[in-house]
Symmetry: C2
Subunit: 366 residues, 2 copies
DNA sequence: CCGGAAGACGTTAGCGTTACCGTTCCGACA
DNA sequence: TGTCGGAACGGTAACGCTAACGTCTTCCGG
């Protein structure tokens, strides 16, 4: 937490007078042109200028032109802060994301932003680095800034705290998590089905001694995938005891460390289900470092199908998730909810298994 | 542009009465608690509440405690919009970025955000997808929202237009571009030196017939790298005529298309300098598709050293750029400029050549 | 020629907060 | 006892904008 008393605005009346440069006046603290300035210049009332600026009716053509000229001449830009206060709508949306450094999220951000931009909204972005406290802080900040709505991607907060925050927002959508329809819409991937598909594919390729790099314990998506894995396990002859499940950060180093740990403790593991493609990338590295050949000694499945998955060595088998589209869906759902239309309580998208070179082909006899 | 008249706020007085759930009151359109509400509850004036909320002196301990209780009881959150209007400082910063989908930028964003968060600022993010018009629109939007400062990463706008926009902001920093110190600070990479290093490395590895995948024509970084290449060329026996320079989008498909084009027109090219690692990744793909072995038939150098560069096949030789640190530098510089301290007019960081497997080792006799 | 409707504009009053200046009150000190 | 400094508060007026309503034209049918 930054100390709010530590940083104070410099007193404008005591600015260093030695730094005045002649010619143009101090570019640091521009005075902003206001509606009233424009009104004075155009010889009309501020209200008329407001009408012109907001393209509302009730202004004659001649006056409208005069106002437009004045706006251009003075370089007037409406003050959205004042407008927001008056209308009590900020035209700003909050977007909470664990970490844009994970290539899964930029696509989501872009999908959301493209739709928001189209609708005339601006985004406040917060990376929350897998930290529940920072997540709560971000949600509170969004509220103080009076955003018109929030999208929380993969929130890690426990149910009660998350719900409390969501309830304080006019509209909300969560991604990769469920939420009561009254509080928030939901866009999520059928992670259980995805994990099941991954596991079946591994087993059909001949893997019997499986391992799971489960990602962060706080991840809901991770939990759902574990359920999927457990469910699929029953139908196969493969084994995956808890000792071969290892958690860790959803990053390349995290995956590398987890895989190294698992593979030294259980050298006989021949199939690896990974939390996401980054963890899988780390696993690939660890396998290489430990001298295991992929997929011959050990098969690896990732999750997300980030753009780079195809560039790995070997090219990664993974589950494709339509991330960009999900961002768009989430944003459209949010806009709908802001309008009071809150029909779609949830969207569930199906991941698609993309088979590349990090797993063995499925055996016919299976 | 979205039609501003198309979207109207729902009339709260005509809310659907069938959706009232007993117990908690309607979570969709919360009424916000104001300072005055707290003041009434605590039996003091709004001004006193303001003092408590802002941790200013002039309030007795007993009163302070009473106010704090009222704040907690009512769940009061200050309205930052109103505060911004009054103080004419929004505590919001604008961050303009070409495309977070390019892994170069998330690190920059994170570096900037971490510093901003520490200082109590929130970020407005705009992806501008290599489009000068969207860039101008974003800068204008930032201005309307009265951000306290702007960071423009890799802006594509021509000088005059960029300067005009920067001048309208109280404080600004540009990344990967120069700017007059009066208008903006600057954090950039010595791209000339980087390109030179790349070229020398290729030549020392035996490459003689070089090609350049130059990225977008509008990129300043790209232009500087071209200068570096040209300068280095003089000192070597290698050749790189304009016909072997091909431009294109800074993405994997863009690089693949460019490389395919170049390699079919000039099958004898044996060394490739790429705009960034994404373009290099595309080139790697194209080379594989065309049956060229890397690095034996053709050596490839990327730029940026994104996290995945080491995972490519072959692992990519590239120039490491300290992206996260640059984001932090840019933000600190911005905060300094906002405070009126604008000493550091520019930071130039040196890229570092990271030699991996996509280039041949340097020959001793060179 | 008049009533009246419609369009074109101005006036007023805040939105929630804080800067600035007053007021009150209490204790210290001559 | 007087008064004087300071701490602890309250009152007032904006910040820039716009909803709501008022006023003044203009113009048309009857």
């Amino acid at each position: 937490m930054p100390d709010p008393t530590a940083r104070r605005a410099p007193d404008p009346s005591t600015r260093d007078p030695s730094s005045h440069d002649p010619g143009t006046h101090d570019p640091g603290s521009r005075e902003h042109v206001t509606l009233a300035d424009v009104a004075a210049r155009a010889g009309v009332s501020p209200m008329t200028v407001s009408r012109v600026v907001n393209e509302r009716p009730g202004v004659g053509d001649a006056t409208r032109a005069r106002v437009r000229d004045a706006v251009a001449a003075l370089g007037y830009r409406p003050n959205v802060v004042a407008r927001s206060l008056k209308r009590s709508r900020s035209h700003t949306l909050g977007l909470l994301v664990p970490d844009v450094t994970n290539p899964y999220f930029p696509d989501l951000v872009r999908g959301a932003e493209d739709v928001a931009f189209e609708a005339g909204y601006t985004l406040l972005l917060h990376n929350v680095i897998e930290d529940a406290e920072r997540e709560a802080a971000a949600l509170a900040l969004f509220e103080e800034r009076r955003v018109d709505g929030v999208i929380a991607a993969s929130p890690r907060l426990p149910e009660d705290r998350l719900h409390a925050h969501l309830a304080r927002h006019g509209a909300a959508v969560v991604v990769n998590r469920r939420a009561p329809a009254a509080l928030a819409g939901s866009v999520r991937v059928d992670h259980e089905a995805g994990a099941e598909a991954a596991l079946h594919h591994l087993v059909r390729g001949g893997a019997r001694t499986l391992g799971l790099l489960a990602g962060p314990a706080t991840s809901h998506a991770g939990r759902e995938r574990r359920h999927g894995v457990a469910r699929a396990l029953d139908a196969t002859g493969a084994t995956l005891p808890d000792t071969r499940i290892v958690e860790g950060p959803p990053t390349i180093p995290g995956g590398e460390a987890a895989a190294r740990d698992l593979l030294t403790r259980h050298p006989d593991v021949d199939g690896l289900v990974c939390f996401n493609d980054l963890v899988a990338a780390g696993a690939l590295r660890a396998a290489a470092a430990l001298g295991r050949r992929v997929p011959d000694d050990i098969a690896v499945v990732g999750y997300d199908d980030i753009a780079f998955a195809a560039m790995f060595t070997p090219a990664l088998t993974t589950l494709r998730v339509p991330t960009y589209a999900m961002g768009g869906h989430a944003m459209r759902m949010l806009l709908d909810r802001m309008d009071g239309r809150r029909r779609d309580v949830g969207i569930v998208v199906q991941p698609e298994l993309v088979i590349r070179d990090s797993t063995r082909p499925e055996e016919d006899r299976a």
